[in-house]
């Protein structure tokens, strides 16, 4: 069924009896051509593009819990393509372009809102680095703009310009950046994939892989064995845990990134803002909550919750930058398990096991990558060759010394 304003009106006048389920609850079949593990944003997008753009059929998405229950449902909703390195920027810019047409493509309003993202600058070295980055963005076809303090004052007059420990000296803006209603992304992809015949099977945890002679034949699940031509892991946050069942060790450690939302407030924050001298980024949701975050908790964890030092650090940074939010109240804290990779960049690649594919290592930046990750993974699954913009996201880059290290922190995952 097609969604539209007219449809909403018609249903409103007829008691909403016509709305159909957004997706089916299919029973798993014996086997599929493609089994995607994980009905998060990336897995659902993969299934959708595999069906829609690569014309594949007999696709299942297996989900341990509920659709969108992973990090697509627990992030700070930011989309942007302000990356520095050649291995990354084309990919994220492609993703941003897919976001720009997503709602019409999916017939689902995911509230893609390009209100802009602003990275603040506080010293000369940072300025040099952001100019380099802004140039890399433009040279890759993205948009970027250096802002003066006066320009920033006009857009964000309430920042701490006059009594700051680390004064604001400028900013790098990407006007096409912004936010997307995170849950709606999962639902939009799920609905669209389902309508193309993809079986999305919830409450169906994968408990093991059936590997014969170096080839993966399917997966053992809570609902029995499901055969597959190709099996695609897409469970960022739990990648190591899942792939260990195939005896793989990954270049990944898991930590938790906490995120925060305030009580609802009338609009104050026009776009997405990031502090360059502390760990704080912030936007305001359409509902009115300030959605903010900072750095991960740094230690390995799968607990999906964090501790006070990170919470206080984020709020200290927030108060240093935006003292005007002091009397607003923090409403809720949540934590998402994140796959921190060894260079801070993701992996979309085949594994050494035939028929077994891997997508993960998104660190805390996977949400913005959702459409491109899905498209590139679908491309890899359909063609067995990497997508043009995801060629660098290979397992062997560490062995070869081709790291994509945006932050320059080296193989210490929690530092990225």
């Amino acid at each position: 069924m097609r969604y539209s304003g007219l449809r909403v009106i018609k249903e409103a006048l007829t008691g909403h009896r016509g709305w159909k389920p957004a997706w089916r609850n299919p029973e798993p079949q014996k086997d599929y051509d493609f089994v995607i593990i994980g009905a998060g944003g990336h897995g659902l997008a993969t299934a959708y593009y595999l069906a829609r753009h690569y014309g594949k059929k007999r696709i299942a998405v297996l989900e341990k819990g509920w659709i969108g229950g992973g990090n697509v449902g627990r992030n700070t909703t930011i989309v942007r393509s302000n990356y520095l390195l050649d291995g990354n920027e084309p990919f994220y810019e492609y993703s941003l372009k897919l976001w720009e047409g997503l709602e019409q493509e999916l017939n689902y309003n995911a509230m893609v809102s390009q209100r802009g993202i602003l990275n603040l600058i506080h010293n000369d070295a940072q300025r040099d680095a952001f100019i380099r980055r802004g140039n890399a963005m433009i040279l890759n076809g993205a948009d970027a703009e250096m802002l003066s303090v006066d320009q920033i004052r006009r857009e964000y007059p309430f920042l701490n310009f006059d009594n700051a420990r680390f004064p604001i000296t400028g900013g790098l803006a990407q006007r096409r950046g912004g936010t997307v209603r995170h849950d709606a992304v999962a639902w939009g992809y799920a609905r669209a994939a389902d309508s193309l015949g993809v079986d999305i099977i919830q409450n169906c945890e994968v408990t093991g892989f059936r590997i014969e002679n170096g080839t993966c034949k399917g997966v053992e699940t809570a609902r029995g064995f499901i055969g597959a031509g190709k099996v695609a892991s897409c469970v960022a946050g739990s990648s190591s845990h899942l792939m260990a069942k195939a005896n793989m060790r990954l270049p990944i450690e898991s930590t938790v990134l906490q995120a925060f939302v305030s009580e609802g407030l009338k609009p104050v924050m026009p776009g997405v803002l990031t502090f360059g001298a502390g760990h704080f980024y912030c936007s305001q949701s359409d509902k009115g909550g300030l959605v903010f975050g900072g750095d991960p908790d740094r230690y390995n964890t799968y607990a999906q919750r964090g501790n006070l030092p990170a919470i206080e650090d984020v709020c200290e940074s927030g108060m240093a930058l935006v003292p005007a939010i002091g009397r607003a109240r923090l409403l809720r804290i949540w934590g998402g398990n994140v796959d921190m990779s060894m260079d801070g960049s993701p992996i979309i690649d085949r594994t050494d096991i035939g028929g077994l594919y891997f997508n993960g290592g998104w660190c805390y930046g996977g949400f913005k990558a959702t459409p491109a990750s899905g498209m590139c993974y679908a491309h890899l699954l359909a063609t067995d060759t990497p997508h043009e913009v995801a060629q660098a996201y290979r397992f062997d880059r560490f062995r070869r010394g081709n790291m994509i290290d945006e932050k320059g922190m080296g193989p210490q995952p929690n530092a990225h």
Partner: protein, 985 residues
């Protein structure tokens, strides 16, 4: 002024009148009132508007779980949005305003939304507003954003201060109702260190709101007696106005004390709030229970509230929301409200009980087996429509309705570590599942023990068990006799039938219909329900609403409630001001400020300072007549290259390395050879990470056979020290080597320029020769200066001139700087800052932070050959990977504009002189740029593909983000004195 709905009694001080205003109208209340109780006393039921439909709303509860009565409290810079009127303590002069309405609370234009509610159902926005695509940001979203949100921020800076504190205890008791008091008393008498926290400003919890409770003694008397004993015990600390907001790992609890929220302005020197971190060996959660509503049509009008809240208003605050009320219940507890209000002289029109076998109350009409099916009253309840057991519909006039759908144990804190509550059929509610945070016991109603007697007993039992766990012997205490009535309840969630809306989440306007729609569209898992409808996403985290939504979903799916699931709660228990979590780390105090010993001297010279990490460093020293920073910096550079200058380099990291294996150790942590460094010599060292990428560089001096002094960059001082300790303790634990950071112990100054030796001659004591022969380039030594002051001298040069670095104990830094300036006067010595330092190091092609950016190798830096292949050093093996050794690898080069007046932008990218300008044709980028007053030209350092073989090439330098486009020539990075003659002079 009269308070028409004020009753007699209560725990308020009617002898004192407090004046306050709400929406510009003045009212009076009394000490002990909350804003909500005082407004109700004045006959004001309408206190807010709902989020989506802007429906008129009054208080639903009398506590912090309040979803409706949210106001903007205070004015000006102290204005706070979304304050619950139900917990705001009344003070004289309190000013509050309603929010999320325009132009006024009574006439709200957006109440039009309510007329269109049929179009604005759950998730309608996901289905529309998609065409044309650009209209979302331009039209739809701005309209939605303006309509959304609750209260406003003034955007002024909060003038109040917030403190952080730390406390430790054996037993933390959370809540001071019957369970909490009995737990605290038990532990207090056992001699344990106890902290009792209470969210309210009165200790006693639900005992303050009830007429039933203790049977043989006065309830209030008992509370007073226990509190008096607890407060007299030196091992017990009682904290009121303190909310336990989060449970973190290993017995760390977050609490917020509202020190000054009950006064107009914090007293002098007092913070507004204190964020406590409580380290508790054990804790008992005695947080009581939260009453839940029943959904029926138009169940959201002002005047409709929880039955327990209505009773609390009457008993504790001597207030009734109306002179005639009714009660709608599915359990016996609702009946207590009718009894208590009748006792206070309030008319109870009827008790509508869903149960056929409802008990009787003398003098009150009981409608058993009946339901409330609709209500009337535009801005406040005027009547209810009841469907009686016989099917007949009856209208009953009343100004308020108390609703009780039963009580949910307050399990919130038990979920903070993702513990899941379990269903208890007997009380038709979820109780803590036993998988809560380790060390946190649960007692009383929070654990489903609803009677007063059960709460008292379980508080004591839990306290004893907790103490026993940690080896403290306690004894059961004598508890007073108390009511022990079982909760008789027949689960009842919503009144079926009818066409209207019955509210579940009153703040977010989620109705039974929305849940049905979510079910119809297959948003059936609890999380989908919540996210699709926004049920439970309001400022109360669904404390009063989640259960109803869950129960209705269970009904729709035909599953028992526990199979549908439960959503867990996340911290904080109640919202916490962001400023409180930020504490004092604001403004200039966000991070500590580190100053070098000669900071004051530099400030007296008028230096401009720059932040380098937490350090403040002199950036340049302007002199009279100079109009731009460039003028000052150029002068400083010329002075150093022409005569002599002095620069404070104290901030460099300094690590003292001692032990017989010092040289072996250094040889492993530096990529270049260090094993044979002679005593009295200094060497440049390049340190790699284990992955072969440059981590830091600096110099290390060998002062003695077993004594080395390492310097690191300012930025990496901590990380390098940590790394060295890792190497020492984890990789080579038996090397005889000891490390200590001495960054703070030594003040260090670079004295640079052709006359630097002449200046130092006047400082260094005569027995130490510093001529070129006895103290050549890269020499080091322990010396004395100024007549016996111990010092260290290094002949090293960042500027490329003849130069020394001289270090003295920190406390002499200021004096030494002044002495050097005096000694240098005859040479016109010039203090120089980090800018001139930067210019000169770029002129010399020395790498610094911009080049050591975490992705560069020794090869990139032109030091590939320094990495010794003959030894094992950290990073040497991984640096051999093919990707780090491509033939066209980036190499550090110098660049100069072909037009000497053109500027170079750091961060610009290099492109071939012909061909496209895009990422695919990128040749490299500029890391550092400066104006060289020596060369009278802009210069830059850049990483260029295969740069070593491209000297003399003309290239385009593009920086589209700054609109710069320059032609440059590739040159050696050593712009000045490439042979190094000057520094050896």
């Amino acid at each position: 002024m009269t308070q028409p709905n004020r009753l007699s009694g209560g725990r308020i001080d009617t002898g004192t009148a407090l004046t306050f205003s709400f929406d510009g109208v003045d009212y009076q209340g009394h000490p002990g009132d909350t804003l909500a109780s005082a407004l109700l006393a004045n006959g004001v039921r309408l206190m807010g508007r709902s989020f989506k439909y802007h429906r008129p709303r009054g208080p639903l509860t009398s506590g912090s779980e309040e979803p409706n009565a949210l106001v903007q409290l205070r004015t000006g810079a102290r204005q706070e949005p979304n304050t619950r009127a139900t917990t705001a303590e009344l003070f004289d002069g309190l000013t509050a305003a309603s929010q999320n309405r325009w132009p006024s609370l009574r006439f709200d234009a957006l109440a039009i939304n309510d007329r269109f509610s049929n179009f604005l159902t759950a998730g309608f926005y996901y289905k529309t507003f998609m065409w044309p695509a650009t209209f979302w940001e331009k039209l739809y979203e701005p309209v939605i954003r303006r309509a959304a949100g609750l209260g406003s921020l003034t955007l002024q800076e909060d003038p109040d201060v917030y403190d952080k504190g730390f406390r430790h205890c054996d037993l933390l008791v959370i809540g001071s109702g019957p369970a909490g008091l009995s737990a605290a008393l038990t532990a207090g008498r056992a001699g344990a260190d106890v902290i009792l926290v209470e969210e309210d400003f009165l200790f006693g919890g639900r005992l303050n709101a009830e007429t039933y409770g203790l049977t043989d003694t006065s309830t209030q008397g008992w509370v007073a007696m226990v509190m008096s004993e607890l407060e007299s015990l030196p091992n017990v600390r009682c904290m009121s106005r303190t909310t336990l907001y989060g449970v973190f790992d290993h017995g760390i609890y977050g609490a917020l004390e509202r020190v000054s929220d009950h006064v107009a302005v914090p007293a002098d020197g007092k913070p507004r709030q204190i964020l406590w971190r409580i380290y508790a060996r054990r804790a008992v959660l005695c947080a009581g229970a939260i009453e839940r509503p029943i959904a029926f049509e138009n169940n959201d009008r002002p005047g409709i509230m929880m039955a327990g809240a209505m009773r609390a208003y009457a008993n504790r605050w001597a207030v009734t929301p109306a002179r005639t009320v009714a009660v709608f219940t599915n359990n016996d507890d609702g009946h207590r409200t009718a009894v208590d209000l009748m006792a206070k002289g309030v008319g109870v029109a009827a008790v509508i009980d869903t149960r056929e076998d409802a008990p009787k109350i003398a003098g009150c009409e009981i409608l058993a087996g009946a339901q409330v099916i609709d209500t009337s009253g535009r801005l406040g309840l005027s009547s209810i429509k009841v469907r009686r057991a016989d099917g007949k519909v009856q209208t009953i006039s009343c100004g308020a309705l108390g609703v009780s759908g039963g009580w949910n144990p307050n399990v919130h804190l038990t979920c903070h570590q993702r513990g899941r509550p379990v269903w208890n059929e007997a009380i038709a509610a979820f109780v803590p599942g036993g998988d809560g945070p380790p060390g946190l016991g649960v007692a009383g109603a929070a654990n489903g023990a609803f009677s007063t007697a059960a709460a008292l007993a379980s508080g004591s039992t839990q306290a004893l068990a907790a103490l026993d766990d940690i080896g403290i012997k306690g004894r059961a205490i004598d508890l007073p006799r108390a009511e022990d009535a079982p909760l008789r309840i027949s689960a009842y969630w919503h009144v079926p039938g009818g066409k209207g809306r019955g509210w579940l989440d009153q703040q977010n306007d989620v109705t039974v219909k929305d849940v049905k729609l979510a079910h119809q569209e297959n948003f059936r898992s609890v999380e989908h329900l919540k996210r699709y409808t926004t049920l439970g996403m309001a400022t109360d985290q669904g404390k009063t609403s989640n259960m109803g939504g869950l129960a209705i979903m269970a009904e729709l799916t035909g599953k028992p409630i526990p199979e549908v699931g439960t959503t867990i709660y996340r911290p904080p228990y109640v919202p916490v001001a962001i400023a409180a979590l930020g504490g004092r780390a604001r403004g200039a105090h966000f991070h500590p400020t580190r100053k070098t010993p000669s900071h004051d001297w530099a400030a007296q010279r008028g230096a401009t300072f720059v932040e380098t990490g937490n350090w403040l460093r002199a950036q340049w020293f302007p002199v009279a007549g100079e109009t731009s920073w460039r003028e000052s910096v150029d002068r400083e550079v010329r002075a150093v290259r022409g005569s002599v200058g002095v620069c404070d380099v104290t901030t460099l990291g300094k690590i003292d390395i001692q032990g017989t294996d010092g040289a072996v150790f250094l040889n492993r942590v530096y990529a270049n050879a260090f094993a044979k460094l002679a005593v009295g010599k200094t060497r440049y060292g390049l340190m790699l990470r284990e992955d072969g990428i440059a981590m830091d560089d600096g110099t290390t001096a060998r002062l003695a056979e077993d004594h080395f002094v390492m310097t690191t960059t300012t930025a990496n001082a901590l990380a390098v020290y940590r790394h060295l300790e890792f190497a020492r303790q984890c990789l080579w634990p038996d090397l005889d080597v000891q490390l200590i950071s001495t960054t703070e112990a030594w003040a260090q100054y670079a004295v640079a320029g052709p006359n630097s030796r002449a200046v130092l001659h006047k400082i260094v004591d005569p027995e130490f020769s510093i001529d070129n022969e006895s103290f050549p380039f890269m020499a080091c030594g322990e010396i004395t200066v100024c007549g016996g002051l111990r010092a260290r001298l290094f002949r090293i040069s960042f500027s490329g001139e003849l130069a020394f670095e001289i270090a003295v104990p920190t406390r002499y830094g200021d004096a030494l700087m002044r002495r050097i300036m005096d000694a240098g006067e005859e040479f016109n010595i010039c203090p120089y800052g980090t800018e001139a330092l930067g210019v000169m190091r770029i002129e010399k092609g020395h790498a610094a932070g911009n080049e050591l950016n975490g992705t560069t190798t020794a090869l990139n830096l032109g030091m590939g050959r320094m990495v010794s292949k003959k030894k094992d050093s950290i990073g040497s093996t991984a640096s051999e990977r093919e990707g780090l050794n491509r033939p066209d690898a980036l190499r550090l080069v110098g660049i100069k504009p072909t037009d000497s007046s053109a500027k170079i932008t750091a961060g610009a990218h290099l492109m071939n002189s012909e061909g496209p300008v895009d990422a695919a044709h990128d040749q490299g980028y500029v890391t550092s740029a400066a104006y060289s007053p020596v060369l009278n030209s802009a210069i830059g350092l850049a990483f260029l593909k295969d740069g070593a073989n491209r000297m003399g090439e003309t290239m385009r330098l593009v920086s589209p983000v700054t609109n710069d486009n320059t032609t440059v020539e590739v040159v050696s990075a050593h712009f000045v004195d490439p042979e190094g003659g000057r520094l050896r002079a």
